[in-house]
C-alpha cells in the first residue's frame, strides 16, 4: 500500500507506478552515454521520483560505491584505495555517526579521513588490527572513481536517515547504502517549487512513512550537504555535470526546451505531460532528434502502462 496524506495525490499502488520504478532501474542498468528517453504522460506528478527510486536501486548495487561493509570485509580494498578517494564511515561505537571524507592516510593498522579543508584540525581516524583483536564497530563504503573535495567548514548531518522507508524501497540492498553514495548522483530538473513540494509530500508505504526526499536523499532530508538527488530549475547554469542520470520534467511555469542541448554523457529522461502548453513544440523537437538518432533504445522487457508513450534513442 502506497498512499499520500494529500488526497489530491491519493495513492500510487497500481502497476503504472511500478513501471516507472522499473524504468529507472532499467535505464540506469542498461543505457549509457548520451541516451535519451522521452515520454508523453497524462500527468507529470511524482513520475521523476519513481524513476529516481528505480535508478537508485541499481546504483546501490552498482560499482559506484562498495556499499557499507564491516571493516573486516573491506579492509583489503581500503588498502588499495588511492588517497583522496571519497570514503564513508558509519561509526557505531558511539551511537551512529556518519563520517564522509577523503582518504587522507592509510597504514597496515590505521586510516584517517580528511573531512574539512583546513589543515591541522582534528580529523577522524581508526585503528584496526585483527592480530591484536582490535576491530572497531564501523562500516565503510568506498566511492569508486570519486575524489573527495573537502569543504571549508565541518559538516554534520542534522537528521537520521529514514531507514524503515529506505528498507521498504531498496529491498535487495542495505538501506544504509544510500549514505555511501556520492552527492549529485541524480538530478531532477523542472519547476523547482513543485519538485520540492512533491519531494516532501508525506506518504505511507506499508508500515513505513516518509517522503521521496527521505528515499532519494534530497537536500536537507538528512543535512544541507547530503544531496544524492539534486532538484533544480530548468536553467543550464543549474545543471550538474557529475550526475549519472538526469530527469527533465515539463511542468507549469517552466520550459525544459531551455536545456535540451545540454548533455553530460549520461542517460537523460524527459517527461512531457500531454496537457502541457509546450507539448507540441517539445515533441516536434524530440521527433526531429529521433530522426537523426545514432541508435534506437528498446524497452521490450517493460510493460508500459496505457497512457504513457515512450521512445528512446542515443544522440
Amino acid at each position: 500500500m502506497r498512499k499520500f496524506e494529500n488526497t489530491s495525490y491519493g495513492s500510487f499502488n497500481e502497476p503504472w507506478a511500478d513501471f516507472f520504478i522499473d524504468l529507472g532501474e532499467y535505464i540506469a542498468k542498461n543505457f549509457t552515454g548520451d541516451s535519451r528517453v522521452v515520454m508523453l504522460t497524462p500527468t507529470e506528478k511524482i513520475i521523476p521520483f519513481l524513476i529516481s527510486i528505480g535508478a537508485m536501486k541499481y546504483f546501490l548495487n552498482s560499482d559506484i560505491s562498495t556499499g557499507f561493509l564491516p571493516i573486516n570485509d573491506i579492509w583489503e580494498d581500503l588498502q588499495e584505495t588511492p588517497l583522496g578517494t571519497e570514503v564513508h564511515v558509519i561509526d557505531k561505537t558511539k551511537g551512529f555517526i556518519h563520517y564522509k571524507g577523503g582518504l587522507e592516510s592509510i597504514t597496515n593498522e590505521t586510516f584517517m579521513l580528511k573531512t574539512i579543508e583546513q589543515d591541522g584540525s582534528a580529523e577522524p581516524g581508526w585503528f584496526y588490527s585483527q592480530e591484536k583483536n582490535i576491530v572497531p564497530d564501523i562500516d565503510i563504503s568506498i566511492v569508486s572513481r570519486k575524489e573527495f573535495l573537502p569543504p571549508s567548514r565541518r559538516q554534520t548531518d542534522k537528521g537520521d536517515p529514514n531507514l524503515n522507508l529506505l528498507g521498504e524501497f531498496y529491498t535487495n540492498s542495505d538501506p544504509l547504502g544510500v549514505l555511501g553514495l556520492p552527492n549529485n548522483l541524480i538530478q531532477i530538473i523542472g519547476n523547482k517549487n513543485t519538485l520540492s513540494m512533491e519531494s516532501n509530500l508525506k506518504f505511507l508505504k506499508d508500515n513505513a512513512g516518509g517522503s521521496f526526499a527521505d528515499v532519494l536523499i534530497t537536500k536537507n532530508s538528512i543535512s544541507k550537504q547530503r544531496e544524492l538527488t539534486f532538484l533544480g530549475a530548468a536553467k543550464e547554469d543549474n545543471l550538474k555535470d557529475e550526475v549519472n542520470l538526469s530527469i527533465f520534467v515539463q511542468g507549469k511555469n517552466t520550459n525544459i526546451s531551455n536545456v535540451l542541448d545540454w548533455t553530460n554523457n549520461f542517460p537523460q529522461v524527459h517527461i512531457v505531460p500531454r496537457a502541457s502548453r509546450q507539448a507540441y513544440e517539445l515533441i516536434e523537437i524530440y521527433n526531429d532528434e529521433y530522426l537523426t538518432r545514432d541508435k534506437t533504445l528498446e524497452f521490450a522487457e517493460l510493460t508500459v502502462p496505457i497512457g504513457c508513450e515512450i521512445m528512446g534513442y542515443t544522440i
Partner: protein
Amino acid sequence: MLDALWEIQNPEVVERKISYEKLEEIHILKQELLKQEDVARTEEFWDNTIYSINSILWRWTNTPNPFFHKDETLEGHILNLKSQLKKAFEYEYNAKNHLEEIFNRIVSLRQSVDSPLFDSVAEHLDPKRNLCFLATTNSYDYLRKEVKNISKKWKVKTPNQLREDQIYDELIFFGQFNNLFYGKFSDPTLEFLFTSTRARKIYWVHYEWISSTWKPQIFLMGSNDANKPFAGKKDIFTSEGKLSITDLDFVPKIDEKRYVNLINISISQDEGNSLTQTQDLEEAYCFLLTEKRDDKSLAAFISANGSKALAISDFDGDGTLDIWKFLPNELGKGMYLLRRTRGAGRDVLEVIADKHLGDDAAYLRGRQMKWKKSLSEVVQTTGLSQSVDLLKNMGCTPASKSNLKRWMSDSSIRTSKPSHFYMLMEFAGLKDTASAMWNDMRRINAAHSTAGFELDGLLKSKIEDINAGDLYGNTSYEFKLSEDENLGALTAFAIEERLESLVEVPSSWTHWGVREL
C-alpha cells in the same frame, strides 16, 4: 487520485449523432448557393458573404446554446449578411434568391428556443454522476446556467481549465473536432482532452449530417503503436454524415491575402497623414478580433521580437479570470487579448514610472531622448548595416539590425550591460557623458521596474476577481485602470483568428490599441 487518473487512460468513446432538419436545410441551401455560376470566393463580395454564412453555421454546429441565445458575433454576421443581400439585389447577382432564402432561414432559426445538441444528450445523462461539459467561451455561460439547474455534480469547464488533473465520470464534447483543432493558429496541445483523458467515458455529441475525421497529432515517432493514444487506432473520431457535407467545407476560413492588403493600405494611409511621424516597420503577428467596428475588422498586432502579450481567461480553472503573459504564438482562440485603448498616447508603464521619477521625470526623459537622437543621427549618416558592423568591432556584441532599431526607438531605456551601453554612447558621440547617462537610465529603468509591479497589482486587482462567465461570450470588455489617476483603460478583445504570415507594421501599432482594417 493518481491511481484513478492512470486507470482511466483508456476511455470509452461514445458518439451521439443528432438530427435537426431546420439547421441541416441551411447547410443544404449553402451547398446549392456554391453551385451557382456567379458565386466564387475569389470575388470579394462572395468571399465576404460566404465567410459570414460559414461563421454562422460553424457557430451553430459547435455550440449547444439555443439558437436565440445572445451572441454578438452571430449578430454581427447576420447584419453583414443583411447588408450583402441588399447589395446582391442592387448588383442583380443571379444567386440573389438563393442568398435570400438562406438569410430568411437563418433569421427564422435565430428566433428558435431549441438547443438540439444539449437537449438531446442531457436527458440521457445521470444527475448523480460527476459530469464535465466541455465549453467554449461561447457556450460557457449557457451551459453553466443549464447544468446548475439539473445537477450539482455536473460541471462546466473550458479546455484550458482541464489542464489540471481533476477527473470525472464522463466528459461531454459538443460539435466538431475541427472547432478545436483547425488551422495552424489553433492550439494543438488541446488534444490532451481526448488523448490524456480526464474522464472514464467521452461523449462526442454532434449533428448527424456532417462528415468529419480527426486523429491525434502529438505522438512520439519512436514509440510502439500499442502505446499511442487509443492504441494507435486512426478512426476513433471519424464520422460519416450524408450529402457530402464535410465540416472542413464550412470552417470559416479567412482570405489572408485580403487582410495583408488591408494592412498595407492602412500603413499607406498612416504615412499619408502628415501629422504622423514616419516610423520604422517591424515584424508582427496580426490577430483578427471578434469585435467589428463600423463593418470593419479590428486587428491587434504583437511584435515578433520575442515580446510577450497580456491575455486574460480563466487559465487556472478556478472560475475567475487570470491575467497571464504569452508569446504571440501561444495565444489562441478563446483567449482575450488585453490592449491599452484609452488614456495618454503612450505606454501606461511610462506614465506610472514618471510618477515615481517625480520632478526629475522631464529631465530624465529628455536625457533618454538625447542619446536616442544622437544615436539615430549617427546611424542615419553611417547606414544601418555599417553601424552594426562598427559597433560589433567595438565589442558591442548584442549589436544587430533589430537591436539597433530598438535602441533608437522611444521605448527602450538602456542595454543590459553597462559596457555595451558605453560603447553605444561612444558610437553616438556621447563618450564623455556615458557614465552619467548610464546612471540616469538606471533611474528610469528602476522606475519602470517599480511601475511594472504596480501595474501588475492594478491589473490583478481589476481582473482577477471577475467571474470568467462575465467575460465569456462578449467580444470585448473594458477595464478602467484607476478611479483616481488618469491611467486610461484597457480592453480585453476576444481573438477570432491569427494571420499565419508575419506582417510588417509601424512599431507603434504593436504597443497599444487596435487597428480598423
